[in-house]
Structure formats: structure tokens, C-alpha cells
Subunit: 338 residues, 2 copies
């Protein structure tokens, strides 16, 4: 088959690779009706995260089970399934504690921008739902694999509750779906920090009540103004830079909650400053598997519709255009159809 | 009166100072039957935290109200009272949120190693209880002002629950009372990290089920061994150094909780490492005022007895000996009687 391989900064190729097959008896192979480009793919694409030689790309997926290994019990060929970007056995102590993205058997998926995909630990990783969803439902369902699951974790890790005042730092797809997640959790006020008009618009559609265009210290001052000098109850950091992290911490009220869900890039936190900020801090790779059944059901029941986050749809073989459009911020997120 | 003033590293003097008096109508002046030296006093005593000229010392206090300002309503002369090391109005949004140590009117107390003390914002800061406690009850009560309140916050901020597996990093007075706090909250297993035999013994008296003498990476490996490779649910960092912070984070299970309650000294946290540790992190100056009524009642009802944490009792005018003994780790905590 042909699939996506990153060769170096800006160099994405769609080229012949080996077909995936069952390697371990716990594997499944799925056929992918849609995959996509993640904001985190842009770090190596931009050369800001080194790669060791040609690297197969893609970690967001849903699909129809083609084949399963001899030990797989919970999914079978023909079923529609979704899994997280991080595989899990769903039985180890970390999984049982709700942190499947720290599973002792965790593997980070990396070959999903392809028509077929091998999924290790299929029983623990994949969640099946009856029937095969209609084609127009697929994009929304696909988001649960990472970008919605991550936005949901951002809201959950920042303790968003009914009535909360929430700030979302970052207007990428994760930030936008963090807005939607906070809205689903009953936040009263959701302030999206964004300076891009189409993203501001989508943020409002997803539930943002306010938009702040200022950044850094000015952004913090604006949030303080808007909250009578108190700061927000929950701030969801969906970028991963030093500036966005400090913006998040400083915009939070003492005793409030900061979550961070993007891999931090050259971020360091100074102990004394963190100490006197008095915030709760929690983040890491989102334990998407914990939320998957609920999120899939929310999408399937029509409770949430978030396909709009894909504002560019391409055939998979034009994947390089998807990277380019996202890199240049012309697209929020590119959907790829094999 | 005579009181305690730090002139420089190792130079504590007990010397004539002005008597405290009512300055603001919201002030109270109290007479102190006992005060003490705090582990945090050792930072400037050791020259590890700069001071600007002669500095009055002491922030842990209880006492009998001598005089109140015209605006004070909730306490009156003759009452026995305790306040936190951080004053609070107990009415601002941060106070109402439970973070009185970030009160908008916060002042850090610093003249309590003295026979008399001015307490600003007396209504919001001081908690009164009926009657005057017997002399032997005073040391236990005094701990609620900071060291017990801080240990309690360490356990609370690290989400200690009935059945939790808890690690306490640091065997100073705060660490020891964090052990006691975790025990009061129903922790099933409490591992004290200590290499000092008298402190190990007291930790066990306060509820520690295990003692680990290893530190750093070896300490972490030992905790992992003791928890079947999982890590602890809650780790209470009661030191404030880079080593102790990293030890705490690394000994915690993914999704577990780290609290830190000592002012960090030259601590920096690297974003990616924190991200993949998957821990919850919360700390800061303990909001002692939140816990004071409950903690005072626990002491007064005899539920907890922690006067033993004072293993050195001195007349106040020999305060310099108290600093010296604690600095040399000959004493856990020095009680001072004016």
C-alpha cells in the first residue's frame, strides 16, 4: 500500500510501504475510511522535533476491522472501531487507574496516515460500536481518537464543572475541541484566546462566550480584568510553549486548575513562581481510552457535532498539502480520505 | 519588650524592640505563651535566602488577646486565639475559595518569636476557642498555626484518601506532621523517607507504616519496589529542593498526586518530564486558615497529640540555641516559652 512518510522538515511523501499484518496474536489490522493530520505532527514537520530517518506518520484513526490475531476477543472483523493514539492493554494498574496513555504496554501509534493500520493490543485499545456509521458521521467520530479526547482531557484535568469560568489557551483543533468539551461539561463562561477570525468563529460555535486576542502579559491582564481581578477557575493550555504555559498559569486564580495537553517544547517552570501561583497543575498524554466509549456515544447520538474542525478535506495521496496548509495556518485540521 | 532579630547567617539576637500596638482598627495584639522556630527560618539563618538588614523573626503563634482595634468584632480581650503565618481577611474571593494564604490583604507574619504580637486583620486571621487551654495543651495547639496546618495541606493537596498509599519526602517537622495528617485522613500505607533514627521513630508514632532511608534515584527505585512497580498514589514533598521535588514526582504513579509545601529553593521543572510523569501537582503556602477550626478542635478533643514534635524546649531569650540545634539537626523543632 501507499502511506505517509516524513523525510525531514517540510518533506512529507506518500509512498509505497509494506502492508500492515498481524505480528502479535493480540494485534488487529483495520481498514481506515478517514485519518487526519495532527497539530503535533507539525513539530517534526517544522524541524522543531528531530526525527531519525524516514518516519511513518499518523496516529489518529478509526476503521473497520479487517483481521485479528488469535488472542483477540473483544473485536472482530467487520466491526467499526476507534482507538487512541496511545495503545493500552486496559488491564494494567495504570489503565485501571484511568491513565491508559501510561499503560505498561503503551505504544504510540505512528502509521495511521495510511489506508490500513496494525493496532497492537487490540482488545485493550479498540472500542467497537454496533453497525457501521454513515460516511458523514466519520469525521466527528475520528476526532475522538485524539483531538477531541485530548480536548476533553484538558477540560477534565482542569476540573471544569457546571458554572466554571474557563480559559482556553490555543486555537488549534485541540483548543477548539477543549472549548466544546468545557461547554459539554457545563462551564458558564468560556474565554477562547485566539487572534484568527475563522477560529474565533468556530470557537463561538463550539461554546466560547468570549474571545481574547491579546497574548502573554497583556492576555493575562485581560483575563484578570474580565474576572474582577480574580483569574479563571480553569485554564486549559493547548499549545505547549513557554509563553502559553506561563499565560495559562498566570491567568488562573489561586487554588484554580491548569491543564496542559500538548507535549511541552522547551518549557521550564520555576519552582517559586509556581508555588506562589497556588494553582493545581495536571496534564500529560491524554488518556483517550478512558473517554472513548462516552465520546463515541455522544457523537453517535448526535449530542455533539464537531466535524467542522476539519476545514480541509483531501484524498490521502495529497497528504503533503494537508501538512502545508496546517503549517501555514490556512487550515485548522486536514481530513484525509484514502 | 525583647524579641528575636536575625542579623545575618548564624546571627540570631534576642534584643530590645518596640512593643507591638494597635496600628489599624482591624488589628489585635496578643500575648504569646509559646512560639517556635520553623524549618523555613533556617533558609535565611543559613544564608541561603538573603535578608535586607536586621529582620524580626517568627511566624508561628497562639495566644491570649490583649487588645483589639475599634473595628474588630469576632475576637475580644481574654480569648485564646490562633492564626496562620499568613494573615487573611477571610472575605475576599481567594479566601472564600479556600485559599486564604493568597488573600488579597495577605501579610506574612514575621515578629512572632516574641512575648507579644500585633496581628493584622484580626477578624479574618484569628480563630478563637472558648476558655484558656491548659499549659500542656499549648504546644500541640501551636502547631496548628503553621507546621500542622502545612502538613495537613500537604496531605489534602496530594488527595490523600482512606486506603491511599502515601509517601512523605522530608522528615522535618512538616514532613512528620504530614505523616500524621495522612494517617488522620485514613491512608492505608504511609512511607516516610528518613535517614535519622529519632525522626523515623516519631514518624512511626505519627502513623508511618514504612521507612525508606534511600534518597534520589535509589529512593525512587525503593518506592517502586514497594508498590509493585506502580508508584505511590500521593507523594508529599516537604523539603523544597530540586532533589526532593524530582524524588517526589518520580515516586508517584501516573495519574497520582504530588503536593509541595515548602518554598522551593532553586527548583526548576522540565516540561516534557513533568508531562510524561502524568502527575497532578499542587502546592504553595498552606491555606492554614481553612483548616484551623477543625485542627484546633482535633487537638482540643484529644484526637491528635503532636507536642512530641517539639523535642527541645527553651526559654524565649535562648532562641539562638533553638536555631543552632535545628540547623545542626540536633532538634526537630524548638519550642520557645517567653
Amino acid at each position: 500500500m501507499q502511506a505517509t512518510v516524513l523525510y525531514g522538515p517540510g518533506d512529507v511523501r506518500f509512498e509505497e510501504v509494506n502492508d500492515p499484518k498481524i505480528v502479535e496474536p493480540t494485534d488487529a489490522v483495520i481498514r481506515i475510511p478517514a485519518t487526519c493530520v495532527c497539530g503535533s505532527d507539525l513539530w517534526p514537520y517544522r524541524g522543531l522535533q528531530p526525527i531519525k530517518g524516514p518516519t511513518p506518520m499518523g496516529h489518529e484513526y478509526c476503521g473497520i476491522v479487517e483481521e485479528v490475531g488469535s488472542a483477540v476477543r473483544s473485536v472482530k472483523p467487520g466491526q467499526f472501531v476507534i482507538g487512541s493514539f496511545a495503545t493500552s492493554d486496559n488491564t494494567c494498574p495504570h489503565c485501571l487507574y484511568g491513565y491508559q496513555s501510561s499503560c505498561v504496554s503503551r505504544e504510540f501509534m505512528t502509521r495511521a496516515q495510511a489506508p490500513f493500520l496494525r493496532v497492537p493490543n487490540a482488545d485493550g485499545t479498540l472500542v467497537a460500536r454496533p453497525g457501521v456509521p454513515s460516511d458523514d458521521m466519520v469525521p466527528s467520530l475520528l476526532t475522538t481518537s485524539d483531538v477531541l479526547g485530548t480536548g476533553w482531557f484538558a477540560a477534565d484535568a482542569a476540573n471544569v464543572k457546571p458554572g466554571s469560568t474557563v480559559v482556553v489557551v490555543g486555537d488549534g483543533a485541540v483548543g477548539l475541541l477543549a472549548v466544546l468539551s468545557a461547554s459539554q461539561m457545563g462551564a458558564e463562561r468560556i474565554i477562547a484566546m485566539s487572534r484568527h477570525e475563522p477560529r474565533q468563529k468556530l470557537a463561538r460555535e463550539f461554546g466560547a462566550t468570549d474571545v481574547v486576542t491579546e497574548r502573554g502579559d497583556e492576555g493575562v491582564a485581560r483575563i484578570k480584568d474580565m474576572t474582577k481581578g480574580i483569574g479563571a477557575d480553569s485554564v486549559l493550555e493547548c499549545v505547549g510553549t513557554q509563553e502559553s504555559m506561563m499565560q495559562a498559569i498566570q491567568a488562573t486564580r489561586p487554588g484554580g486548575f491548569v491543564s496542559y495537553v500538548g507535549v511541552p517544547h522547551e518549557v521550564t517552570l520555576e519552582g517559586t513562581q509556581l508555588f506562589f501561583s497556588h494553582v493545581h497543575l495536571h496534564g500529560g498524554p491524554a488518556p483517550v481510552r478512558r473517554y472513548l466509549p462516552d465520546l463515541m456515544d455522544r457523537v453517535l447520538s448526535g449530542k455533539i457535532n464537531l466535524g467542522k474542525v476539519f476545514d480541509l478535506v483531501l484524498p490521502l495521496n495529497r497528504v503533503a498539502e494537508g501538512y502545508r496548509a496546517m503549517d501555514e495556518r490556512r487550515a485548522i485540521k486536514a481530513l484525509l480520505r484514502p
